[in-house]
Symmetry: C2
Subunit: 312 residues, 2 copies
């Protein structure tokens, strides 16, 4: 194994890059802008140029780099083919071949960004010490990544770990971003808990502090719940019930050692973990009830850690 | 690789055994009784003796056997430890070590019987040609097995593929055998469809032929549905909806290439497949909608095929 590896997390606004020792220590991290114009044709060349610049500055030869891992905000098939990535403007593109070609044939491995973040959290974050990890990220949406025996499950159609789209309610009338109705993401995301709480406030005569907060946020709801606000507690319980139920479904499929929960909503900390775990235990198959629940620890760096882990 | 392998499927009534060429052709198959008395202490010695007898008869030296695979009706942890197997009377037992010890240190690999059957169907049955397979068996209960990249997913607590216990209804009042309420098994098994159909018959004024059939069976319901009986059709649709929804949950986790459906209920054939697939497509994440649906083909032999595949 060579001395260095590079992890890259491509987002819709910025590309995060990191150079690591192959032992896992980070050497340098930086960001560049994601230029999405002209069907995202500048994204890969910009990445290649930036890597050349920074490695040169650090006096690291590309010959001493084991490989480059890429996290991409869309489905990635085995072999590195991205099949339409709306956020970046890409059509069908083999990004592993593309970047390798731009950097003298260096080894490149790509996977979906949430799956890559899962790998990062397993390796150096909240899932450290485990080999079978379900990572859940609760942000604007609900993302996920499945790790079995230290390997990312990409899925046959690149949809492995798309747990935000598990159907939780058959009677939902509003649509999810994916076009279906009743997805987990509509209830357990930051926007989901706000939507649910607004409904509860409308129908409640309880004098909730949340009635004065505009715009309502997931943080405000968790803070109020910690202060004993009844409507806020109800909203948090509802999130816990939908997410706990979905995680119990996942356990009936792959029976993981640990669930690691990250994303903005996870800043709610122990209250979130305890509520989700309580509902999980109610609906999980008995053998799987011992699964651990942890908070993610790497924040926005999970992607670059997981990406470099793809090539190590 | 040596010339032969042995696959064993341990059931509560009989043990099925098969000697295979390592290329996959079956050489001989036979059954012995499962002696469950005295906490199942005779099961493993009976198996070892029977193997010695039959291999001797066939003039096959154990030195020319690559290994023995075991399917067990209960959870099996990595390393071959069975953690209570109620059907056989076993407590905590390392069955890989036990059988290996009885047969001169031969290589033994064990896994849960439904997971092993899944491997058999992938290798030589309905899932042939695929590497990422979800196997569902619809019998008295609902069992399952998950294969990713040709490997069985046993799970951290031996509960990988326990898809019969995915919670489908939070409002169910009757209990599942596992102690929870509202498990898939309560709706999509042979007993589940009969239970559901009996409820529909009670509340229907339609002159269903099924009112005269005692006891009602899954086969009678599917036959009547094929003849256009409205209550039977409703019961089949309900099974399709619950199973299709559960399979869409599974697809959001591991995104398989194919679902292979076996067990007694699968004798209903195309009508079952078409109904399940129709409901699956409604609730599945768009990227996973292209997954294939196939009928299992190995019947009761799936276990011995999958078991031997464990050691090849």
């Amino acid at each position: 194994m060579k001395e260095f590896g590079i992890g890259i997390d491509i987002g819709g606004t910025t590309v995060k890059l990191g150079i690591f020792k192959t032992t896992g220590e980070i050497v340098e991290k930086w960001e560049i802008k994601t230029r999405k114009e002209e069907e995202g044709k500048f994204v890969m060349p910009d990445i290649a140029n930036s890597i050349c610049e920074v490695t040169k500055k650090l006096n690291i030869s590309l010959d001493n780099v084991e490989g480059i891992g890429l996290g991409v905000p869309g489905p990635v098939l085995e072999g590195g083919v991205v099949n339409r990535c709306v956020n970046l403007g890409w059509g069908v593109l083999n990004i592993e071949e593309k970047l390798s070609h731009l950097l003298n044939g260096i080894k490149v491995k790509a996977a979906n960004d949430a799956n890559v973040a899962a790998l990062g959290e397993m390796w150096k974050g909240g899932g450290q010490g485990f080999k079978n990890v379900v990572f859940v990220t609760l942000g604007t949406g609900v993302g996920g990544g499945i790790i079995i025996n230290e390997k990312v499950i990409n899925g046959a159609f690149g949809a492995g770990g798309e747990i935000g789209h598990i159907q939780i309610s058959a009677s939902e009338t509003e649509s999810c971003g994916c076009g279906k109705k009743g997805c987990l993401e509509q209830y357990a995301s930051a926007t989901g808990i706000v939507r649910q709480c607004e409904k509860l406030l409308e129908n409640s005569e309880y004098n909730s502090k949340l009635k004065d907060i505009q715009p309502l946020t997931a943080k405000a709801i968790f803070d109020a719940a910690k202060d004993g606000d009844k409507v806020a507690i109800e909203a948090v319980e509802f999130l816990g019930e939908t997410l706990g139920t979905a995680l119990s479904h996942i356990a009936c499929v792959i029976d993981p050692e640990v669930f690691v929960i990250g994303g903005g909503v996870s800043k709610a900390g122990d209250m979130l973990i305890e509520t989700v775990k309580k509902h999980y235990i109610k609906t999980a198959f008995h053998a799987s009830r011992g699964a651990d629940f942890r908070l993610a620890t790497l924040g926005n760096d999970a992607g670059i850690y997981g990406a470099v882990r793809l090539v190590l």
